[in-house]
Protein backbone atom coordinates (compact mmCIF):
# COMPACT_ATOMS: atom_id res chain seq x y z
CA UNK A 1 0.00 0.00 0.00
CA UNK A 2 2.81 2.40 0.85
CA UNK A 3 4.45 1.65 -2.48
CA UNK A 4 1.28 2.93 -4.15
CA UNK A 5 1.50 6.23 -2.28
CA UNK A 6 3.99 7.28 -4.94
CA UNK A 7 1.86 8.94 -7.65
CA UNK A 8 4.24 8.02 -10.49
CA UNK A 9 4.20 4.34 -9.50
CA UNK A 10 0.43 4.44 -9.08
CA UNK A 11 0.02 5.94 -12.57
CA UNK A 12 2.19 3.17 -14.07
CA UNK A 13 0.10 0.51 -12.32
CA UNK A 14 -3.14 2.12 -13.51
CA UNK A 15 -1.82 2.30 -17.09
CA UNK A 16 -0.95 -1.42 -16.92
CA UNK A 17 -4.39 -2.39 -15.57
CA UNK A 18 -6.41 -0.12 -17.87
CA UNK A 19 -6.59 -2.29 -21.03
CA UNK A 20 -7.63 -5.36 -19.02
CA UNK A 21 -10.30 -3.39 -17.15
CA UNK A 22 -11.59 -2.02 -20.46
CA UNK A 23 -11.74 -5.53 -21.92
CA UNK A 24 -13.63 -6.87 -18.86
CA UNK A 25 -16.02 -3.90 -19.07
CA UNK A 26 -16.80 -4.23 -22.77
CA UNK A 27 -17.04 -8.04 -22.84
CA UNK A 28 -18.96 -8.23 -19.54
CA UNK A 29 -21.48 -5.53 -20.41
CA UNK A 30 -22.04 -6.69 -24.01
CA UNK A 31 -22.36 -10.39 -23.12
CA UNK A 32 -24.24 -9.84 -19.84
CA UNK A 33 -26.72 -7.26 -21.12
CA UNK A 34 -27.13 -9.00 -24.49
CA UNK A 35 -27.87 -12.29 -22.76
CA UNK A 36 -30.02 -10.71 -20.09
CA UNK A 37 -32.07 -8.35 -22.23
CA UNK A 38 -32.49 -10.54 -25.33
CA UNK A 39 -31.92 -14.23 -24.60
CA UNK A 40 -32.62 -15.01 -20.93
CA UNK A 41 -36.07 -16.36 -20.01
CA UNK A 42 -38.83 -14.17 -18.66
CA UNK A 43 -39.82 -14.55 -15.00
CA UNK A 44 -42.78 -16.73 -13.96
CA UNK A 45 -44.55 -13.88 -12.21
CA UNK A 46 -42.99 -10.67 -13.52
CA UNK A 47 -42.84 -11.64 -17.20
CA UNK A 48 -40.62 -9.49 -19.42
CA UNK A 49 -40.44 -6.71 -16.82
CA UNK A 50 -37.82 -8.74 -14.94
CA UNK A 51 -35.24 -7.59 -17.52
CA UNK A 52 -35.01 -4.21 -15.74
CA UNK A 53 -33.14 -6.21 -13.08
CA UNK A 54 -30.09 -6.60 -15.36
CA UNK A 55 -29.55 -2.84 -15.14
CA UNK A 56 -31.06 -2.12 -11.73
CA UNK A 57 -29.22 -4.70 -9.63
CA UNK A 58 -25.64 -4.23 -10.98
CA UNK A 59 -26.13 -0.45 -10.58
CA UNK A 60 -27.23 -0.92 -6.97
CA UNK A 61 -24.24 -3.15 -6.24
CA UNK A 62 -21.83 -0.67 -7.86
CA UNK A 63 -23.42 2.25 -5.98
CA UNK A 64 -22.68 0.49 -2.68
CA UNK A 65 -19.30 -0.96 -3.70
CA UNK A 66 -18.00 2.41 -4.88
CA UNK A 67 -19.17 4.10 -1.69
CA UNK A 68 -17.36 1.42 0.32
CA UNK A 69 -14.24 2.04 -1.81
CA UNK A 70 -14.52 5.79 -1.10
CA UNK A 71 -14.88 5.15 2.64
CA UNK A 72 -11.85 2.81 2.76
CA UNK A 73 -9.71 5.19 0.65
CA UNK A 74 -10.79 8.08 2.87
CA UNK A 75 -9.75 6.17 6.00
CA UNK A 76 -6.36 5.39 4.42
CA UNK A 77 -5.98 9.05 3.41
CA UNK A 78 -6.85 10.29 6.91
CA UNK A 79 -4.69 7.83 8.83
CA UNK A 80 -1.61 7.42 6.65
CA UNK A 81 -1.82 10.78 4.79
CA UNK A 82 -1.73 8.75 1.59
CA UNK A 83 -2.01 11.36 -1.20
CA UNK A 84 -3.23 8.98 -3.91
CA UNK A 85 -5.95 7.39 -1.71
CA UNK A 86 -7.62 10.77 -1.38
CA UNK A 87 -7.66 11.21 -5.16
CA UNK A 88 -9.01 7.66 -5.67
CA UNK A 89 -11.92 8.58 -3.38
CA UNK A 90 -12.50 11.92 -5.11
CA UNK A 91 -12.35 10.39 -8.60
CA UNK A 92 -14.77 7.59 -7.64
CA UNK A 93 -17.59 9.79 -6.36
CA UNK A 94 -19.23 10.92 -9.64
CA UNK A 95 -19.12 7.33 -10.96
CA UNK A 96 -20.84 6.06 -7.82
CA UNK A 97 -23.39 8.87 -7.90
CA UNK A 98 -24.24 7.99 -11.52
CA UNK A 99 -24.76 4.31 -10.63
CA UNK A 100 -26.96 5.33 -7.67
CA UNK A 101 -29.09 7.52 -9.93
CA UNK A 102 -29.45 4.68 -12.48
CA UNK A 103 -30.48 2.35 -9.64
CA UNK A 104 -33.12 4.80 -8.35
CA UNK A 105 -34.55 5.58 -11.80
CA UNK A 106 -34.71 1.96 -13.02
CA UNK A 107 -36.15 0.92 -9.65
CA UNK A 108 -38.89 3.50 -10.04
CA UNK A 109 -39.63 2.34 -13.59
CA UNK A 110 -39.77 -1.25 -12.29
CA UNK A 111 -41.93 -0.37 -9.28
CA UNK A 112 -44.77 1.17 -11.27
CA UNK A 113 -45.73 -1.96 -13.28
CA UNK A 114 -44.92 -4.51 -10.55
CA UNK A 115 -45.84 -2.89 -7.23
CA UNK A 116 -48.25 -0.31 -8.57
CA UNK A 117 -46.25 2.73 -7.46
CA UNK A 118 -43.26 4.77 -8.65
CA UNK A 119 -41.98 5.38 -5.15
CA UNK A 120 -42.67 4.52 -1.52
CA UNK A 121 -40.84 5.65 1.60
CA UNK A 122 -39.85 2.20 2.77
CA UNK A 123 -36.52 1.57 4.46
CA UNK A 124 -34.71 0.20 1.36
CA UNK A 125 -35.77 2.96 -1.03
CA UNK A 126 -35.20 5.72 1.51
CA UNK A 127 -31.72 4.51 2.53
CA UNK A 128 -30.75 4.29 -1.16
CA UNK A 129 -31.94 7.88 -1.71
CA UNK A 130 -29.83 8.92 1.30
CA UNK A 131 -26.83 7.25 -0.39
CA UNK A 132 -27.43 9.43 -3.46
CA UNK A 133 -27.52 12.57 -1.28
CA UNK A 134 -24.33 11.44 0.49
CA UNK A 135 -22.59 11.22 -2.90
CA UNK A 136 -23.82 14.70 -3.87
CA UNK A 137 -22.75 16.10 -0.48
CA UNK A 138 -19.33 14.47 -0.81
CA UNK A 139 -18.81 15.95 -4.30
CA UNK A 140 -20.04 19.38 -3.15
CA UNK A 141 -17.76 19.36 -0.11
CA UNK A 142 -14.69 18.85 -2.31
CA UNK A 143 -15.68 21.97 -4.26
CA UNK A 144 -16.46 24.03 -1.16
CA UNK A 145 -12.82 24.64 -0.15
CA UNK A 146 -10.08 26.47 -2.03
CA UNK A 147 -7.36 24.50 -0.27
CA UNK A 148 -7.44 20.88 -1.53
CA UNK A 149 -5.88 19.46 1.62
CA UNK A 150 -8.64 20.91 3.80
CA UNK A 151 -11.30 19.89 1.29
CA UNK A 152 -9.89 16.37 1.23
CA UNK A 153 -9.96 16.02 5.01
CA UNK A 154 -13.54 17.33 5.34
CA UNK A 155 -14.76 15.12 2.49
CA UNK A 156 -13.01 12.05 3.94
CA UNK A 157 -14.74 12.54 7.30
CA UNK A 158 -18.11 12.90 5.54
CA UNK A 159 -17.41 9.70 3.57
CA UNK A 160 -16.67 7.79 6.80
CA UNK A 161 -19.76 9.16 8.54
CA UNK A 162 -21.93 8.14 5.57
CA UNK A 163 -20.50 4.62 5.54
CA UNK A 164 -22.86 3.74 8.38
CA UNK A 165 -25.62 3.84 5.74
CA UNK A 166 -24.18 0.87 3.80
CA UNK A 167 -25.18 -1.92 6.24
CA UNK A 168 -28.53 -0.15 6.66
CA UNK A 169 -29.16 -0.39 2.90
CA UNK A 170 -28.11 -4.04 2.76
CA UNK A 171 -30.08 -5.23 5.79
CA UNK A 172 -33.05 -2.81 5.60
CA UNK A 173 -35.14 -5.53 3.94
CA UNK A 174 -34.38 -7.95 6.80
CA UNK A 175 -34.68 -5.57 9.75
CA UNK A 176 -37.96 -3.93 8.79
CA UNK A 177 -41.08 -4.69 6.77
CA UNK A 178 -40.47 -3.13 3.37
CA UNK A 179 -42.25 -3.12 0.02
CA UNK A 180 -38.93 -4.05 -1.58
CA UNK A 181 -38.41 -7.82 -1.52
CA UNK A 182 -35.58 -9.37 0.52
CA UNK A 183 -32.17 -10.24 -0.91
CA UNK A 184 -32.14 -12.69 -3.83
CA UNK A 185 -28.43 -13.24 -4.48
CA UNK A 186 -26.37 -12.62 -1.33
CA UNK A 187 -28.38 -14.67 1.16
CA UNK A 188 -27.33 -17.25 3.73
CA UNK A 189 -29.30 -19.94 1.88
CA UNK A 190 -27.69 -19.12 -1.47
CA UNK A 191 -29.13 -17.38 -4.51
CA UNK A 192 -32.90 -17.58 -5.03
CA UNK A 193 -32.61 -16.86 -8.73
CA UNK A 194 -32.70 -19.53 -11.42
CA UNK A 195 -29.24 -19.95 -13.08
CA UNK A 196 -30.64 -18.86 -16.48
CA UNK A 197 -31.43 -15.48 -14.93
CA UNK A 198 -28.55 -15.36 -12.43
CA UNK A 199 -25.66 -15.88 -14.89
CA UNK A 200 -26.35 -12.89 -17.17
CA UNK A 201 -26.87 -10.81 -14.01
CA UNK A 202 -23.48 -11.80 -12.58
CA UNK A 203 -21.69 -11.29 -15.91
CA UNK A 204 -23.20 -7.80 -16.22
CA UNK A 205 -22.09 -7.07 -12.64
CA UNK A 206 -18.50 -8.11 -13.47
CA UNK A 207 -18.64 -5.87 -16.57
CA UNK A 208 -19.84 -2.96 -14.44
CA UNK A 209 -16.97 -3.57 -12.03
CA UNK A 210 -14.52 -3.50 -14.96
CA UNK A 211 -16.10 -0.26 -16.17
CA UNK A 212 -15.53 1.31 -12.75
CA UNK A 213 -11.82 0.33 -12.69
CA UNK A 214 -11.38 1.53 -16.27
CA UNK A 215 -13.02 4.92 -15.67
CA UNK A 216 -11.35 5.24 -12.27
CA UNK A 217 -7.87 4.75 -13.77
CA UNK A 218 -8.54 7.58 -16.23
CA UNK A 219 -10.10 9.87 -13.62
CA UNK A 220 -7.32 9.33 -11.07
CA UNK A 221 -4.72 10.09 -13.73
CA UNK A 222 -6.54 13.37 -14.47
CA UNK A 223 -6.67 14.21 -10.74
CA UNK A 224 -2.94 13.52 -10.26
CA UNK A 225 -1.97 15.55 -13.32
CA UNK A 226 -4.26 18.34 -12.18
CA UNK A 227 -2.60 18.45 -8.79
CA UNK A 228 0.89 18.41 -10.37
CA UNK A 229 -0.13 21.24 -12.69
CA UNK A 230 -1.32 23.22 -9.66
CA UNK A 231 2.04 22.74 -7.93
CA UNK A 232 3.88 23.80 -11.09
CA UNK A 233 1.69 26.91 -11.39
CA UNK A 234 2.43 27.86 -7.80
CA UNK A 235 6.17 27.35 -8.12
CA UNK A 236 6.22 29.28 -11.41
CA UNK A 237 4.41 32.14 -9.73
CA UNK A 238 6.87 32.00 -6.82
CA UNK A 239 9.82 32.03 -9.27
CA UNK A 240 8.41 35.03 -11.07
CA UNK A 241 8.03 36.88 -7.81
CA UNK A 242 11.57 35.94 -6.76
CA UNK A 243 13.05 36.91 -10.15
Amino acid sequence: MHALANPARFLRLMAAIRPYAAAVAIIGLVVGLGWGLLISPRDYQQGETVRIMYIHVPSAWMAMFIYAAIAVSSAVALIWRHPVAELVAKASAPVGAAFTLICLVTGSLWGKPMWGTWWVWDARLTSMLILFFLYLGYIALWEAFDDPSRAGRAAAILALVGAVNLPIIKFSVDWWNTLHQPASVLTLEGPKIHPDILWPLLITAVGAQGYYVWILSLRVRAEILNRQARILRFSAAADRRAG
Binding site: R42, I79, W115, N177
Partner: protein
Protein backbone atom coordinates in the same frame (compact mmCIF):
# COMPACT_ATOMS: atom_id res chain seq x y z
CA UNK B 1 18.60 10.92 17.61
CA UNK B 2 17.07 9.66 14.37
CA UNK B 3 14.38 7.40 15.76
CA UNK B 4 12.79 10.05 17.97
CA UNK B 5 10.85 11.88 15.20
CA UNK B 6 10.13 8.48 13.59
CA UNK B 7 8.51 7.21 16.75
CA UNK B 8 6.54 10.40 17.12
CA UNK B 9 5.34 9.96 13.54
CA UNK B 10 4.20 6.41 14.27
CA UNK B 11 2.42 7.62 17.34
CA UNK B 12 0.52 10.24 15.38
CA UNK B 13 -0.45 7.65 12.82
CA UNK B 14 -1.74 5.38 15.57
CA UNK B 15 -3.68 8.26 17.08
CA UNK B 16 -5.35 8.96 13.74
CA UNK B 17 -6.08 5.25 13.28
CA UNK B 18 -7.75 5.14 16.70
CA UNK B 19 -9.66 8.35 15.95
CA UNK B 20 -11.02 6.92 12.69
CA UNK B 21 -11.92 3.58 14.30
CA UNK B 22 -13.53 5.45 17.20
CA UNK B 23 -15.54 7.63 14.80
CA UNK B 24 -16.83 4.64 12.85
CA UNK B 25 -17.60 2.59 15.99
CA UNK B 26 -19.31 5.53 17.70
CA UNK B 27 -21.44 6.27 14.66
CA UNK B 28 -22.33 2.60 14.33
CA UNK B 29 -23.55 2.45 17.93
CA UNK B 30 -25.41 5.76 17.59
CA UNK B 31 -27.10 4.61 14.38
CA UNK B 32 -28.07 1.28 15.95
CA UNK B 33 -29.61 3.05 18.96
CA UNK B 34 -31.53 5.54 16.82
CA UNK B 35 -32.82 2.85 14.46
CA UNK B 36 -33.90 0.64 17.37
CA UNK B 37 -35.69 3.57 19.01
CA UNK B 38 -37.56 4.42 15.81
CA UNK B 39 -38.21 0.79 14.89
CA UNK B 40 -42.00 1.18 14.86
CA UNK B 41 -41.81 4.11 12.47
CA UNK B 42 -39.40 2.42 10.09
CA UNK B 43 -41.62 -0.52 9.20
CA UNK B 44 -43.47 0.08 5.96
CA UNK B 45 -46.48 -1.98 6.97
CA UNK B 46 -47.98 -3.88 9.92
CA UNK B 47 -48.93 -7.55 9.88
CA UNK B 48 -52.41 -8.91 10.71
CA UNK B 49 -50.84 -10.20 13.95
CA UNK B 50 -49.96 -6.61 14.92
CA UNK B 51 -53.62 -5.73 14.32
CA UNK B 52 -54.84 -8.73 16.36
CA UNK B 53 -52.54 -7.75 19.21
CA UNK B 54 -54.06 -4.26 19.10
CA UNK B 55 -50.68 -2.64 18.52
CA UNK B 56 -52.27 -0.03 16.31
CA UNK B 57 -54.33 2.86 17.66
CA UNK B 58 -57.96 2.86 16.55
CA UNK B 59 -58.96 5.27 13.79
CA UNK B 60 -55.36 5.63 12.65
CA UNK B 61 -54.35 5.26 9.01
CA UNK B 62 -51.73 2.57 8.52
CA UNK B 63 -50.53 0.00 6.02
CA UNK B 64 -51.26 -3.67 6.40
CA UNK B 65 -49.17 -6.30 4.66
CA UNK B 66 -49.29 -10.04 4.19
CA UNK B 67 -50.44 -12.68 1.76
CA UNK B 68 -53.74 -12.62 -0.11
CA UNK B 69 -55.48 -15.70 1.31
CA UNK B 70 -56.23 -18.34 -1.34
CA UNK B 71 -59.91 -18.40 -2.31
CA UNK B 72 -60.69 -15.16 -0.50
CA UNK B 73 -60.86 -12.73 -3.44
CA UNK B 74 -64.39 -11.53 -4.32
CA UNK B 75 -64.81 -8.95 -7.07
CA UNK B 76 -67.88 -6.80 -7.55
CA UNK B 77 -67.27 -4.24 -10.26
CA UNK B 78 -64.33 -2.13 -9.16
CA UNK B 79 -64.69 -3.18 -5.52
CA UNK B 80 -62.55 -6.10 -4.39
CA UNK B 81 -62.82 -7.92 -1.09
CA UNK B 82 -60.02 -10.19 0.06
CA UNK B 83 -58.35 -11.44 3.20
CA UNK B 84 -54.77 -10.54 4.15
CA UNK B 85 -53.06 -13.16 6.29
CA UNK B 86 -49.67 -13.69 7.89
CA UNK B 87 -50.60 -17.37 8.43
CA UNK B 88 -51.39 -16.68 12.10
CA UNK B 89 -54.00 -13.94 11.93
CA UNK B 90 -56.11 -12.59 9.09
CA UNK B 91 -57.84 -9.29 8.34
CA UNK B 92 -60.58 -8.77 5.72
CA UNK B 93 -59.84 -5.92 3.30
CA UNK B 94 -62.21 -3.93 1.11
CA UNK B 95 -60.77 -1.90 -1.75
CA UNK B 96 -62.31 0.05 -4.62
CA UNK B 97 -60.03 0.79 -7.53
CA UNK B 98 -57.50 -0.68 -9.94
CA UNK B 99 -55.33 -3.51 -8.62
CA UNK B 100 -51.69 -3.93 -9.68
CA UNK B 101 -50.94 -6.69 -12.21
CA UNK B 102 -49.14 -8.83 -9.65
CA UNK B 103 -52.17 -8.92 -7.31
CA UNK B 104 -53.00 -12.64 -7.03
CA UNK B 105 -54.12 -15.10 -4.40
CA UNK B 106 -51.17 -16.40 -2.42
CA UNK B 107 -49.06 -13.33 -3.29
CA UNK B 108 -47.74 -10.58 -1.03
CA UNK B 109 -49.72 -7.37 -0.84
CA UNK B 110 -49.56 -4.06 1.06
CA UNK B 111 -52.74 -2.01 1.56
CA UNK B 112 -53.05 1.52 2.96
CA UNK B 113 -56.18 2.56 4.86
CA UNK B 114 -57.90 2.19 8.22
CA UNK B 115 -60.06 -0.25 10.14
CA UNK B 116 -63.82 0.27 10.31
CA UNK B 117 -66.09 -0.53 13.27
CA UNK B 118 -66.50 -4.19 12.19
CA UNK B 119 -62.76 -4.74 12.00
CA UNK B 120 -62.61 -4.62 8.19
CA UNK B 121 -59.71 -2.78 6.65
CA UNK B 122 -60.97 -0.12 4.23
CA UNK B 123 -58.08 0.36 1.79
CA UNK B 124 -57.51 3.42 -0.36
CA UNK B 125 -54.44 1.95 -2.06
CA UNK B 126 -53.23 -1.60 -2.73
CA UNK B 127 -49.63 -2.36 -3.75
CA UNK B 128 -48.32 -5.76 -4.82
CA UNK B 129 -45.23 -7.13 -3.12
CA UNK B 130 -43.32 -9.74 -5.05
CA UNK B 131 -41.03 -12.29 -3.46
CA UNK B 132 -37.29 -12.72 -3.91
CA UNK B 133 -37.51 -15.82 -6.16
CA UNK B 134 -36.86 -15.50 -9.87
CA UNK B 135 -37.31 -18.37 -12.34
CA UNK B 136 -38.56 -19.03 -15.87
CA UNK B 137 -42.27 -19.95 -16.13
CA UNK B 138 -41.42 -23.49 -17.36
CA UNK B 139 -39.39 -24.13 -14.20
CA UNK B 140 -42.24 -22.87 -12.02
CA UNK B 141 -44.67 -25.16 -13.89
CA UNK B 142 -42.34 -28.14 -13.56
CA UNK B 143 -41.96 -27.52 -9.83
CA UNK B 144 -45.73 -27.30 -9.41
CA UNK B 145 -46.25 -30.51 -11.43
CA UNK B 146 -43.71 -32.50 -9.43
CA UNK B 147 -45.08 -31.28 -6.10
CA UNK B 148 -41.82 -29.48 -5.25
CA UNK B 149 -43.53 -26.09 -5.25
CA UNK B 150 -43.52 -24.23 -1.96
CA UNK B 151 -45.28 -20.93 -1.64
CA UNK B 152 -42.42 -18.90 -0.29
CA UNK B 153 -44.06 -15.88 1.24
CA UNK B 154 -40.91 -13.82 1.15
CA UNK B 155 -40.16 -12.16 4.44
CA UNK B 156 -43.28 -13.70 5.94
CA UNK B 157 -41.31 -16.92 6.25
CA UNK B 158 -40.47 -15.88 9.80
CA UNK B 159 -44.19 -15.76 10.56
CA UNK B 160 -44.78 -19.47 10.00
CA UNK B 161 -47.69 -20.94 11.95
CA UNK B 162 -46.66 -22.15 15.35
CA UNK B 163 -43.54 -20.02 15.46
Amino acid sequence: MRDVPMRRGMKRKHKRLLAVLGLVAGLGVAAALVLTAFNDNLVFFHSPSDVAEKKIAADKRFRIGGLVEAGSVKKDGLTTEFVVTDLRHAVPVVYTGMLPDLFREGQGVVANGKLDAEGRFIASEVLAKHDENYMPPEVADALKKSGQWHEKPGDHAKLKPGS
